[in-house]
Symmetry: D2
């Protein structure tokens, strides 16, 4: 019988442990078995490892992964977008599955907040059969109802895994906050989400380190503001205003994750501006802020949590079009 080596988080803040499971390849209706070809380490994996979001342990981490279809269960003949699916196809899958039936899925149409949402590499205790529900594994068993996307030939695994859930998350966030033609945009953060946001908007990037900012300029940033060079909130605010104009930015996208980025970001918006809280995926604790600034500046502040399958489709399409994201060495 086929066996799969896996990397398991057995307890928060402990080294991952390599285990081996037997692969139960008797697939039910709609299920699939995939060979994992590549898996990414996301900033969220670091938060998960630290224990900043409550997840079951032991768990096979890995929610940004891609691979090849090895076997398809009865009735699974098409990918999410309706293309035919076959053994051997190169695919990526949305990390999460929603119930489609709860208050948030049905009444409020907000499936990213589904009351029963489960994500590969995050929500499945690997003590329970069939075990293989994370990407840090040679093989993954995809549940019925998974959103599977066939990869265009032009799109290497490096590209889709390199963009990872960052690009999907940025797509949903930018959809939610809205970016209008002519808006000036500031991106806080030069990590993967920040760079992804950049790829679809005109921007100033506030972040670091230097090689990230260099990459941001290559990706089309109009200006960058280095956290190393501008060591205070006030210095960064001034540098941003020099770049976007004297009243501040129309839209600021927070892609940092540290709570202190939020009150700093409010300062970067113009009156009436929009602020997207995209990076606070993990619970990294409290921060002080002055709510008067929200009233006085008439800010619109929005959160965005993860993404829906249609954002994965958007990411696949975007990457297939964009030579820059495909070919950049070292992503």
């Amino acid at each position: 019988m086929l066996k799969s080596k896996v990397a398991v988080l057995t307890a928060y803040q402990k080294p991952l442990e390599v285990r081996e499971y037997e692969v139960d390849d008797t697939l039910g209706a709609g299920e699939a078995l995939a060979r994992v070809e590549m898996a990414g380490i996301c900033g969220t994996d670091v938060h998960l490892w630290k224990g900043e979001l409550p997840i079951p342990v032991p768990v096979i981490l890995g929610h940004e992964s891609a691979g090849r279809i090895e076997r398809l269960g009865p009735g699974l003949e098409k990918d999410w977008s309706g293309q035919p699916l076959a053994v051997g196809d190169r695919v990526v899958w949305a990390s999460s599955i929603v119930c489609g039936e709860c208050y948030y899925c049905r009444i409020k149409r907000t499936p990213t907040r589904c009351l029963k949402r489960k994500a590969y590499g995050i929500s499945y205790c690997c003590d329970e059969a069939p075990h293989l529900r994370g990407g840090y594994s040679e093989w993954i068993l995809l549940r019925a109802g998974s959103s599977i996307f066939k990869l265009p030939d032009v799109l290497p695994f490096e590209s889709i895994v390199g963009a990872g859930c960052a690009l999907n998350t940025a797509l949903q966030g930018i959809e939610r906050i809205g970016v209008e033609m002519g808006d000036t945009v500031v991106v806080q953060g030069a990590g993967p989400v920040g760079l992804a946001a950049l790829a679809v908007a005109k921007t100033v990037v506030v972040g670091g380190p230097a090689h990230r900012l260099k990459m941001a300029l290559e990706f089309g940033a109009d200006a960058v503001v280095s956290l190393e060079e501008y060591g205070t909130v006030e210095a960064r605010r001034k540098a941003v205003f020099d770049a976007v104009g004297e009243y501040g930015a129309d839209v600021v996208l927070e892609c940092v994750g540290h709570p202190s980025a939020v009150p700093e970001g409010f300062e970067l918006c113009r009156d009436g501006g929009k602020y997207l809280v995209l990076g606070q995926y993990a619970n990294a604790g409290n921060v002080e802020f002055n709510p008067h600034i929200i009233t006085k500046k008439q800010l619109t502040v929005m959160g965005s949590w993860a993404f829906e399958p249609r954002h994965v489709q958007g990411a696949v399409d975007f990457l297939a079009r964009s030579a820059k994201w495909r070919d950049l060495p070292g992503r």
Copy 2:
């Protein structure tokens, strides 16, 4: 020559001082002289008195006032809505005047954040002629460009001053946040802004004291949650969820002014809900909050600052229609 007694704030946190000025009734083009018939004390007046918003002193306070036209300057023949204006007319005026030319007025169409906005009863040092730019005065001199509204006969001064800037402010805030058919709404605060918000939406009111909550029920609240009865954030959250349903409110309107209301309010929203920061008009300091909640709950948080003249028109129309607001004794 006509003289006017006025109540002046000479220094923060000092008793108002009664002074007397001569009334310079030689009016320029577009100016008006009005006899003040009634003036309200707004929560903002308390903040101003404490020094929580920077204003010049000495100042004649009073930004919620109404009266009768005594004299009209050349060319001032119509009110804001185009009705003929004559000596003796009962009128109210928008407290603020904007420049119409700055970045916020022109490019971003956000006149409440006009860079040169000045408000009667707030922005004018009364040492400077013509002195009479506040409502705590027998007479007020209205500048050219003031938005003056003729009062319908059915609308007594008690009603328009009683509703005050609270109703105008609530109208702009509700317009900004948007309330959709079928939304559950929670109002935080049972002061004038909270009651005004109530008048135009279906709601649960969280506030006090008891006589305010009684009034809230008379105004149509579906439920009230007393700060005195429910002494903790968690107890109030539970009481609100009992009233609006197990996931929380679609929309929460903060009409309190204390910074701690804001993180409490985030807890009252459902995932994907909307939160209006309407009450933080004054700078009452910092509060701790956890930005993770904005990302995770996908909240939309909006501020709203003051109002435009069209909201005063809306308030006049609303009050003229609404027997409840006209006739309530003791407002």
Copy 3:
């Protein structure tokens, strides 16, 4: 074996024919058998009968019906909103089922335009087993995936079937066009959709005959304009403008179905107003109009097709709350 009498449209514009089918009550997973207690005749049924929308014949008509659960297939334990479902429960069901997988369901989140949408009483040829897929029948077999809604005790069959798909359709239409606080609204049409739109908005109703307009006033219309009394477009336009003000209505809801209502309705909008094309469910042919009016008046014109299950839930909730709709004799 149980038998069911049914009313069948065998050919367009022919009298319905009464047939009898055996009831195959061996239910698959998620299926249900219901006793039809009441079924409505919708304006759309008239269009279907005339052949104005392409449907298969022979067909058991009836897409507005309600009844009692007689038997539940394996796994069907809850209604759409998550309430427990049992034999004997009084229920209504959404007429249509969507695939959840096509371009419109997935990418564009517009399930009312699902490429594989099928509706009870409309889309099922009754020659094919299990035959009983329409409401003009003693028994109906509900497919797996049907949206079933338990009726609150206060809600009689008369009320939910009387409101019919008109109320659901009005709810989706009003959601799409948006009605803002303070908007003046004109409803074109005093049929069921028009009256339903009225129930959730402030309005002037343009329609007839007299007993419909009387009902419109009882339902809360601010004014009515009779097609019989005002025989020309220009006369009606004048009557509407007298009621809503000299520039026309902020929002006009077309609930008529005759093509000529559309160019007439454009005339009723103010510049910058919104016009909802809700009534043109059937293809009733062409009409002349002048597109210059859309540019010049800067109109927003929206269509809305049918409804989603969440609108049925909204209708059930609305009717349960609204004594007026429950108790009106003769609906």
Copy 4:
């Protein structure tokens, strides 16, 4: 005294007549005298000449013009955006002036439909002093309240007049209809408005003649569909669907002006798509259409009339950034 040669439309469909007026250069407060350096012939000028929009005659046509400040009236020291203004400055001016006080300007914030709007080159009978209110003239007298924009040094007159009111109009239209990230866009029309729309969106252009379509590709169109090559509505629809995908376009921008473009354009939209009626500036008569398509396809159809001064500012900024629009020979 200075004299100005002017080109006058004395009667519809007659050749323009050259006249000469004396220039009254005694400027009132806020007025300006400008030397016209360049003036464009807009498609609207053709409609005006035909008499398709009611304007006074005789009139000096020319609403797309630019020039140099020759003299500034008292108090006119800054341009619309707040930059200092001086004699000799190269400037463009918004063609229209609004009252800022009427129902549309104030309550509905729709100044392009101002009840007292007047436009240079359109609304001023040149028999009335000071005569020089159109761009087909050596000199133009700009009224107080005109929106004047200083041209960046990099921006030649050819560019700003070449883009003309087409670009401003496209900016307002695209703002109104909204174009979201990832939307497919079809532009109907390859005239100046169509090309301008193209410059700010990803598109397929349907139009002609061939040299226009060649220009469209140079401006970044993803595909073009030639009216000459595809002679029927159905052939064009198929060509467009081949380019944007099997369901049609998310957004279609009508920039044609012929009424028949509108029903054809409805066919090009996907279900739930958006259709902008931008080109029907003149009254070119009626067309037949089937309103059923708006309901069934759940279309959003919007008109957009002319532009506000902030769109002129947007156009100046856009052109200054865009080498393509500055340098294209032959525009």
